[in-house]
């Protein structure tokens, strides 16, 4: 369960190492300060349920830094990624991912 104050690992090669969640971003709202960045969560320790009854859980809470359009800031992504990202139109992230589970 990612909530404000949650620390997330960063799974790409943008220079961020760890993020702290401050709020859930409403899509398409501009951000005020420059230290605050948007990131998309790619894996959670809390299980997520799928429609086919599969329940999947990852080893850590990880996120990928993205810009306003949803394109990743980094060029590489490490670790496995949840398949849900494809349905949410983060196609660039999905294509960079080494493994989509």
């Amino acid at each position: 369960m990612i909530q404000p104050q949650t620390h997330l690992n960063v799974a790409d090669n943008s220079r961020a190492r760890e993020l702290m969640c401050i709020r859930e971003a409403v899509p398409n709202t501009p951000l005020e300060r420059s230290e605050v960045i948007t990131a998309v969560i790619i894996s959670t320790r809390k299980e997520l349920k799928r429609d086919n009854g599969m329940i999947i859980r990852y080893d850590d809470n990880a996120a990928v830094v993205i810009d306003q359009e949803g394109n990743p800031k980094g060029t590489q992504i490490f670790g496995a990624i949840a398949r849900e990202l494809r349905q949410l139109n983060f196609t660039k992230i999905v294509s960079l991912a080494p493994e989509v589970l």
Binding site: S43, E47, N52, G53, M54, I55, I56, R57, Y58, D59, D60, G79, A80, P98, E99, L101
Partner: protein, 191 residues
């Protein structure tokens, strides 16, 4: 073995809805090796992208406790390792994981379903025979008798001449040192 059903078309009134159905696969629980049916259990993805599937929370919790399934008595891994259950059998060849989807062929599907039933029965019969043999009493006695029979009857298997030449067939000869009786030679001390 189970073919892919890729597209199922639903008719809803006037519109046509195309639904992509995922292929179903029966997995094995990482901890206890039982089958995990769809809708059951939890999958855990480790950071190195290795997937661990569990059939129920019992196995999942044992995994979280870092228990080794080869040491936990009720798992299949333990039982196979310690010879409690059958390990090598030709019926296991049929259950190999295949990653190529087969084109749907009605005859193939029908024959496969029949074969699954039959193979299952054969496998479980052999497995229960294995357990029955293991639990039979007098195992030590039978082994002793077998050993004795081998010693006495080895000439039925191989000619004595061949036996003498091939030392691996004989039981090893044990040399026992017997001290020579020297009571006569020992002179009593002169008085």
């Amino acid at each position: 073995m189970i073919s892919d059903i890729v597209n199922v078309i639903f008719y809803l009134g006037n519109c046509v809805l195309l639904v992509n159905l995922r292929r179903m696969r029966l997995e094995k629980c990482w901890f206890c090796s039982s089958t995990v049916y769809p809708g059951h259990g939890i999958q855990f993805v480790r950071n190195d992208a290795k997937i661990f599937r569990f059939c129920r929370s019992k196995c999942h919790k044992n995994f979280k406790m870092k228990r080794n399934p080869r040491k936990v008595k009720w798992t299949k891994a333990y039982r196979r390792l310690h010879g409690k259950d059958m390990t090598h059998d030709s019926t296991f060849e049929f259950e190999r994981k295949r990653n190529r989807p087969e084109r749907y062929d009605r005859n193939l599907a029908e024959n496969t379903l029949k074969a699954i039933k039959k193979i299952d029965k054969i496998r479980s019969d052999r497995a229960s025979d294995h357990i029955k043999n293991r639990l039979k009493t007098g195992k030590v006695q039978r082994q002793k008798e077998a050993r004795k029979q081998l010693e006495q009857g080895i000439h039925l298997v191989k000619a004595p001449h061949a036996l003498a030449q091939d030392s691996s067939l004989c039981l090893p000869k044990i040399k026992v040192n017997v001290s020579q009786a020297q009571t006569e030679e020992n002179q009593p001390m002169e008085e």
